[in-house]
Amino acid sequence: MYAFNYQRPKTVRQAAGLLAKAGGDGKLLAGGQTLLPTMKQRLASPAMLIDLNQVDGMSGIELKGRNLHIGAMTKHADVANSHVVKTAIPGLAALAEGIGDPAVRNRGTIGGSIANNDPAADYPAACLGLGATIVTNKRKIPADEFFTGMFDTALEEGEIVTKVIFPVPQKAAYEKFPNPASRYAMVGVFVGKKGSDVRVAVTGAGANGVFRLPEFEAALKTRFNAKSLDGLSVPADGLNGDIHASPEYRAHLIGVMAKRAVSKALGK
């Protein structure tokens, strides 16, 4: 790890001020489960590290009407074990229960995961698949506009994710095919149905990060059943390929995981 200037603000405003001061050379430390390994390998070298762990009011889970609010510093384990989440969006709790391993879930946060937008992360699929809104210290960003590319988001300089708002769906589920080695999503498909709207979001597979599948969504809007996806396929072009999975295999797995997610959402 390279040396850095360590800061521990108490408020979001202070954190934003420090981030602005760092002028693009600052990084926010949330759970650190991705950032710290990256810094250890000297692949990231922020001049300033702004630790959000002492900032008040950034974590917590609350159901407000038909929307589930989750604070950015809420840990995966807390989402997974929350009675509120399990009741409102069981598919989201199950997704959180499958991130990393128990020790990682005890540190990693939803805000950190979303802001990092790792192409193999799980939460971006839930955000996109549920049509979530990402709230920052400056504005509200629809998930459809938030994830702009691999490790890239709509966040501007000095902008900090403070919470995520998930509309509560009628049905939702996530199916992940983990990379055998890292256990990150090699393909993860989140399916959400709210009213007549159906969303299918895919993580792990796309070269530009999480993406939606309009054809699958249209088929499921007609009839929300795994069988509706029969005959549909995803082109391998533009999907990731590595030693564990070729683009063709990923494309195939998207179809399988999507069907399984739909069945799961239907309680089958």
Binding site: F177, A181, I243, H244, Y249, V256
Partner: protein
């Protein structure tokens, strides 16, 4: 059987320190005033070093010294060695390229050692490493066997212009050709034995320390064989004479072969400690471990089996190309030769065998022994061949094996080995019973109903362990003898210290060895201490690998214990005023035959030390005996493993539904520990078959250099195992032990692949059978079915 004697599942005495965090591993050891070493490694697979400019780095905070291959040369420090000479078919010696601990003029793999930076802290050393300016002239690399053997390929070592280390053979070619000429069936297979990274959980580490007052070097290191390390560092590398070099291998967190070898890092740490006048510590991180620990396996093989019309095996022909990496590691040359081809007969009567092996240099990390070393590769060849041969004949693979089993012992194979004892059918019967093979068909139908494919695979393995008779291995090219030593020190109060040349890095020697002592001397377990891993305490030893600690190490202890009892009888005779021939020793007491006069073991020990009852002319005082045990034969553990898998053809995921292992290890000292060894071995074998594979790209970059890309078996990848035993005691050592450390890793890969191919209905799958590969293979099965 007593509660702590031979055969008892005694709970391990060493566990207390490990479960309370009090183990002492090398990285836990800190010497006063120590500095930290960091190795600058080559980012290129193949390059000439034009210039190393360390001037900027040398001026950085905390930097004490930056040393390169030139400094080694100036100090006349020799290169790392390969201790087993293999001869080519024409009798000429193998071609061993130089292996300096720090590169001299050229780097040959990614991770090769360019310079060492010694600084006050590890971070400072690492910072300075980044400031060293190395000018490389990059060369084309050869990252695999095929590209290394192409005409005009880049040359790794000038001594081997065709990148061939040796072309070696074993067996009778003419007899084998004759067998094939009269064959009614010839079964052919092309096999890849995938390259693995050993990955003991404790990364390698070393602390070198030089005492300028006495001129003695001390090296704490993660070694399976500290005496061999000292011998090599002294006699070959020339750091210091043996009596001025102490090597300590404290608690070691797993080895699996990878900590046998003498590596560049410990060599440099001990040498540099004198150069900088400070203790020098180095601890590998996991990425360095992937890059620079010796890898395992990496064979490409074409094999053919000849059979008569009744399905009896007539002959076996094997051609193997073995990747040995960029340099010859300590025992690398023995692995694809004498640890491989002599096991090709498996459990079968095969009249004629001929095996050719070409060993190849590539621009990859050195390859050497990894759990099983050669024997897993041989077992994969023979067990895949018999399975496919049976399938081609439409015969039940278990019956086919049984028909060809060796049943008469001793049995001389055509490839060196003389099997001493065994009962292969007994293991097969028991395994089939435990695995409920008779209901497999029902289970397969159930799986099919759920859209899954189910398969069952056998592996009837044999291995040669208890390595090894020194004279025999000497005649085959070994640079060392492979006996073991033991010293039994009885203290005046009757407690016992056993000094052994074996080394425990997870095997539980402190318990198992103490059980033997307790059993033989009739004293409680807690009065026995097992001492190992320190060249200042143990006079000499060959260490732990090749499942030798029980068969060879404990035999040495047994021999020394016999001497202690014999001396004890002499002492007891004087103390009890009886003739030596009238003294019996049983259950911890020396007694005079036909009388009630007796002394406890501890009382005799005291008599031996106070020496009041005999004169110095009559008997030497004291009670301490030494033995060197040299085995007379290899031992031949054997058994049958049965793997049952269920495949999801939609995803390619293979789930192991059942694992049955029945092993014949001869006499077992502690069944709990032995079963634990079987479990661990199976996990590594399943890892090879389903999960693990070291992958270099064509430029020689290691793609799988961390747990992000190299698939380690985790708890949810494996089932619980059903483990059973049969026993035919080994006749060649005093304890009847055969050895158990490698069995699982040897048996498992073909069992898994035979099960998968059974499920798929074709043979076209290679290791590791990852979900992607199995999915592709399952599609091929469907196409095959559709065509039929």
């Amino acid at each position: 059987m007593s509660a702590t004697g031979i055969g008892a599942p005694v709970r391990r005495t060493e566990d207390f320190r490990f479960i309370t965090g009090k183990g002492q591993y090398t990285d836990d050891i800190n010497r006063a005033g120590q500095a930290h070493a960091y190795f600058l490694r080559s980012p290129h697979a193949h390059a000439e070093i034009v210039k190393i400019d360390a001037s900027k780095a040398k001026a950085m905070d905390g930097v004490i010294a930056i040393l390169t291959g030139d400094d080694l040369a100036a100090d006349k420090i020799g290169g790392l060695i390969c201790g087993w000479m293999i001869h080519n078919k024409d009798g000429s010696p193998m071609r061993a390229g130089g292996h300096p601990a720090l590169a001299q003029g050229k780097v040959r793999y990614v991770g090769d050692h360019v310079a060492v930076i010694i600084a006050e802290t590890y971070q400072q050393a690492k910072d300075a490493a980044e400031a060293i300016d190395v000018t490389y002239k990059t060369l084309s690399a050869v990252a695999d066997i095929d590209s290394a053997l192409k005409k005009g390929a880049p040359v790794v070592h000038d001594v081997a212009p065709d990148n061939t280390v040796f072309n070696w053979h074993l067996g009778d070619k003419a007899a084998t050709d004759a067998a094939f000429a009269k064959a009614k069936q010839i079964t052919k297979l092309d096999l890849i034995n995938n390259r693995l990274v050993p990955n003991p959980m404790e990364p390698r580490a070393a602390v070198g320390d030089y005492d300028a007052g006495t001129g003695v070097f001390t090296l704490h290191t993660t070694s399976q064989n500290p005496h061999v390390a000292r011998l090599v560092l002294s006699a070959f590398i020339g750091i210091a004479p043996e009596h001025k070099l102490r090597v300590i291998a404290p608690d070691v967190g797993g080895g699996f072969g990878s900590k046998i070898f003498i590596y560049a890092e410990e060599t440099v740490c001990v040498w540099a400690s004198k150069k900088v006048g400070r203790p020098v510590k180095w601890t590998s991180d996991r990425t360095e471990a992937f890059l620079s620990d010796a890898h395992g396996r990496d064979h490409v093989t074409h094999a053919e089996m000849a059979l008569d019309d009744k399905g009896r095996i007539l002959g076996l022909r094997v051609n193997t190309k073995a990747n040995l990496g960029a340099y010859l590691s300590t025992f690398s040359s023995s692995v694809p030769t004498y640890l491989y081809a002599p096991l090709l007969s498996g459990q079968y009567n095969i009249p004629a065998i001929y095996c050719e092996v070409d060993a190849v240099y590539t621009n990859t990390a050195p390859v050497d022994a990894y759990r099983g070393a050669g024997r897993p590769e041989a077992t994969f060849v023979i067990e895949r061949l018999v399975e496919v041969a049976a399938r081609e004949r439409g015969e039940d693979p278990a019956l086919f094996r049984r028909k060809n089993f060796v049943t008469q012992f001793p049995h001389q194979t055509p490839v060196i080995m003389a099997y001493d004892v065994g009962n292969y059918s007994a293991s097969l019967d028991k395994a089939m019973d435990m695995a409920d093979v008779k209901n497999f068909g029902k289970r397969k139908k159930d799986s099919e109903r759920n859209g899954k494919l189910r398969g069952l695979g056998y592996s009837a393995y044999i291995e040669a362990c208890g390595i090894a008779p020194s004279q025999a291995v000497g005649s085959l090219g070994a640079g060392v003898g492979l006996w073991e030593s033991a010293e039994v020190r009885v203290n005046p109060v009757g407690t016992v210290e056993v000094l052994t040349g074996s080394h425990s890095h997870g095997q539980g020697h402190e318990t198992t060895f103490a059980q033997l002592v307790s059993d033989r001397l009739g004293i409680p377990l807690d009065q026995v201490a097992i001492v190992h891993g320190d060249t200042d305490k143990v006079q000499f030893g060959m260490g732990t690998y090749g499942s030798r600690s029980g068969a060879v190490g404990m035999s040495a202890i047994a021999q020394a214990l016999d001497k202690v009892i014999a001396k004890g009888k002499k002492v007891a005779a004087y103390a009890l005023e009886a003739a030596e021939g009238d003294i019996d020793f049983k259950d911890g007491r020396f007694s005079v035959k036909g009388t009630d006069k007796s002394l406890a073991f501890g009382e005799v020990a005291l008599q031996a030390y106070i020496a009041h009852k005999f004169s110095g002319q009559q008997l030497e005082p004291g009670l301490k005996e030494t033995a060197f045990y040299d085995p007379t034969n290899f031992t031949f553990p054997a058994g049958v493993h049965i793997c049952e898998v269920e495949i999801d053809p939609d995803t390619g995921v293979t789930r192991i539904d059942r694992w049955t292992a029945v092993d014949d290890f001869g006499v077992v000292i502690n069944p709990m520990i032995v079963e634990g060894q079987v479990h661990g071995g199976i996990a590594q074998g399943v890892g090879q078959a389903l999960l693990e594979g070291a992958h270099y790209n064509k430029d020689g970059q290691l793609v799988t250099a961390s747990y992000m890309d190299y698939t380690m078996p985790r708890a949810d990848d494996l089932p619980s195992f059903a483990v059973g035993m049969t026993s035919t005691p080994c006749p060649s050592n005093p304890l009847g032990i055969k050895g158990c450390g490698e069995a699982g890793a040897i048996a498992a890969p073909p069992a898994v692949i035979n099960a998968i191919t059974d499920a798929l209905g074709h043979e076209n799958i290679s290791m590791p059978a990852t979900p992607q590969r199995v999915w592709q293979a399952a599609q091929q099965s469907q196409r095959k079915l559709a065509a039929e």
